[in-house]
Symmetry: C2
Subunit: 528 residues, 2 copies
């Protein structure tokens, strides 16, 4: 038995005990070509025992490329599952977000068909039956803490798209995780109706509870129950650096000014913060900063949130997942359960990322893109405009609907071929996930550009003045001046661009290893 | 007196009678540099007498360029007001949408600073005080049908951003329109609180009423009341053509299939339809089609909606404006008031376009872009990527949040230099307002591409197969094959593009007058 209770004590609906089996025994249920749905979100709350057993089976029997599946999961899951599946050529389609070197390689070499979508849309569209031929998911694999007497699924460290999977899955395998405490009571589950019968989500503060603590499940669909003792392989903590600290300082300063002007309440508004070193620095800055009684309404909580709770500044946090590090995050959380548990609610992705509560609450959205351009279009997904990293995630859900829409990035990123680095502020983004209509404030360590109410050319000048790295400033200023002059002269200059030159910096990087071009001249022969 | 009642009968708060004056007498209240907010939306319900009197004053006294204002209005207003102001160099800033040859010229030549934003965001951001230095509007000019005893403003043919103007305007001029019947009872006004105090909008069907029939107004802010008899200069009816009818037929067919598959109810879901010949053809197709008990939840109702009501197929329509043609639209509407009035509700822009009801109701969003690309990014605003036409409007509010997100366009548009026309499906859109993450279905007269659940390369092939004009099909297929080959070989091919060639069709149009290029060769000297 486990120190966290026996499997028997976790399966409170006793008639289900007869469906308990070993992970290896579930391999019989999988057939190549199946559409699979998993629990899990940003490596938290995903099934582990069954996917790993299946991967072992494929490896042992040399079935690489002969057992391929379509994977629909709320967001990324642990590398030991989806990335290992990619290594073993077990993935055909993957929606809507992923993490891992091998899965990314498979996508960018054309072996894995990935699609990304705003996460709130992915969740509901899955429930609408938009992703598969017959609208169904053949098999769902769900990690649970417990099963209630009436067959309610008590989830673990995330909610993901489990409610939608209950709507469209034909068969269900449950993994009961007895290797950690039960998360019972932390979830707020809403089984959303599809239109035209959908009802309002009556969330009016981050701490609002509008649902139930378990997900209703049809017991006849459950074909297997497997015990698992594996924990989430949560991401390692990203250290802060000077650049991130400078960005965070600009943002805290901006908040203070907005409070002074009466445009933000003294305790700000519910915060959404992405992942990574800048997000960590912002949370760190808030822990030391002047604002009290903060709340968080976001999609993922990471280790730094525990620091913010410990600082006494954070009253409550709502999220889709609790994505702590395997160590020290989760042990710290479990050891202090009483301190944190009643200040956190975990919601399904369709609720955590829904425009309705995000806009009503007036979230402050903060995310890091790959790059942004002078007019405030941002690329969040495709390096160089074509190579997928992870996916769009929920950035668009929060940026479109937030009270303030903030993106932050270092002004340059390291390059192997240029000691100054490549610029993250470009004349034209080679791929666009968030448009100029969706962003209010862009920040680099150089400064903060408050673009609210500015016309495109005014935005561009402010971006150059405030955000561009000094080494790139004269280059981008020259482009902007030239584009303005040429376009305005032709009466086509609302948002000036020169389509023969707008990607010259990127082209020069590919050819000569640097974006710091010597001039904007270019000679083009169209070969017609 | 007017046939529609006297000014006295319309001003039911009698103490306000002393503020009645002639339009010319309000000129004293205007000072160059002021921030002005008007009622009005898609030439409906905008002030006319005062703006025209001010324009006459400027013209008569040669004050061109010496009386300039910043104009904040829900959307476009009649050409006799904003376009005339542009002619007379009376506009500095203009948000967030406009119509008119002279205003567009001023924007694209750099004299008028226009910015566009999703209309739902514009409305709320205006109420947040994001658009002006002190967050205030100096003077609001509002067209009303009547003023109630408790100083409620009964609006006319649109609601626009009047509730937000009441929050931020320092002074108010009212135009009481006695040249047409009062619209009293048709509006459903919600004075939305700003976060963190915003409450749910409990709209669960197009016909839900959640507010009041007039807008509360502080009588002390009213500095003048002017009588007006001018009617809205609504747009002329756009005739249908074969292309539009073919597009509409594809869409109706698609709806039938979705109903058959059980993914849409028999009476569909609330419809949002843009403006123009394709939208007219779709509405025309619905009037003759198999679907009954339809509802509409949209931002603008045009003449064709009266046909849909008359067909008996339409039960109810919710909109921000009733933008009928001056003739025959409005006379037909007024003559049959009893038939239409209780089937229409007019809502403020902040409600009509809010993600909350749009997503809850599951609207079917249909809009026409300038162009879209093979990966399903759409350009709705900037011809050639830089020249502003009208603005983004509410297309993004509905496309992002609709149950189905549909864009429709002819496969080609007429060109003066190429008898085949220019293609509206391009390898890469030169400007992007709606991303691949926001669109489900793209349609041209060639066919309908249902892109739901498809990865980028699969989307591109379907777009080429279904939507591209036959003359352009081999050209774009060649680009796509070449881009796939080159990018996949480098392991950067999630969404293949070639940044040296992706705009070659546009560059060739500029140089040689045609997008039908002979080959994809190009020679580039970066001049480094």
């Amino acid at each position: 038995m486990s120190e966290f209770g026996t499997l028997e004590s976790r399966i409170r609906r006793k008639s289900l005990m007869k469906k308990v089996m070993k992970a290896e025994e579930t391999i019989q249920f999988f057939k190549s070509g199946m559409n699979l749905g998993w629990s899990g979100f940003t490596p938290a709350g995903y099934p582990k025992a069954v996917p790993i057993a299946l991967a072992d089976h494929v490896e042992k029997n040399n079935l690489q490329g002969k057992m391929k599946f379509n994977l629909f999961i709320g967001a990324s899951v642990g590398a030991e599952t989806e990335n290992r599946w990619a290594q073993l050529d077990m993935i055909d389609r993957r929606w809507p977000y992923q993490t891992g070197k091998d899965i990314s390689k498979g996508i960018n070499e054309g072996r894995i068909r990935m699609g990304d979508k705003h996460l709130s849309l992915f969740a509901q569209d899955l429930g609408y039956g938009f992703y598969t031929e017959n609208g169904r998911i053949d098999l769902a694999i769900i990690e649970v803490s417990a099963i209630t007497e009436d067959c309610g699924l008590v989830l673990t460290s995330s909610c993901g798209v489990v409610p939608e999977l209950m709507m469209v899955a034909d068969r269900i395998i449950l993994e009961v995780n007895t290797g950690q405490p039960s998360f019972e009571g932390m979830h707020d589950i809403v089984m959303s109706q599809n239109p035209p019968n959908r009802q309002p989500y009556l969330i009016t503060k981050a701490s609002s509870r509008i649902g139930t603590t378990s997900v209703p499940c049809d017991p006849d669909k459950i074909i297997a129950i497997v015990e698992s003792k594996r924990r989430d392989k949560g991401r390692a903590f990203t250290d802060m650096d000077d650049t991130s600290e400078a960005i965070a300082a600009h943002i805290i300063d901006f908040f203070s000014n907005e409070v002074a002007k009466g445009r933000l309440p003294k305790n700000l508004l519910p915060l959404q913060s992405g992942v990574g070193s800048i997000a960590n620095a912002v949370v760190g800055g808030l822990a030391k900063g002047p604002f009290k009684n903060l709340t968080v309404y976001t999609e993922v909580l990471q280790d730094t949130m525990l620091d913010l709770f410990d600082s006494g500044k954070l009253d409550f946090a709502s999220s889709c997942s609790l994505s702590l590090s395997e160590s020290p995050g989760f042990p710290r959380f479990f050891d202090n359960w009483e301190k944190y548990a009643d200040k956190i609610v975990l919601r399904p992705l369709s609720i955590s990322n829904a425009p309705e509560p995000i806009r009503r609450l007036g979230c402050i959205a903060m995310n890091t893109p790959v790059e942004f351009d002078i007019y405030a279009h941002a690329n969040s997904t495709l390096v160089g405009g074509t190579r997928m990293i992870n996916g769009l995630g929920g950035s668009g859900d929060f940026l479109r609907n937030g009270f303030l829409k903030i993106m932050h990035s270092p002004s340059t990123r390291p390059s192997k071929t240029d000691p100054i680095g490549i610029t993250c502020v470009v004349p034209k983004a080679p791929h666009i996930d968030h448009t100029e209509h969706d962003l209010d404030v862009l920040v680099t360590e150089q400064g903060l550009a408050d673009l609210r109410g500015l016309a495109p050319k005014d935005r561009a000048q402010m971006m150059i003045d405030k955000c561009v790295h000094p080494e790139y400033k004269p280059i981008i200023q020259e482009y902007f001046d030239m584009a303005k002059k040429e376009c305005l002269a032709k009466g086509i200059g609302h948002e000036p661009q020169l389509f023969d030159r707008c990607f010259k910096m990127q082209q020069n990087l590919a050819k000569n290893g640097t974006m710091r071009i010597k001039n904007w001249d270019i000679k083009i022969d169209l070969c017609e």
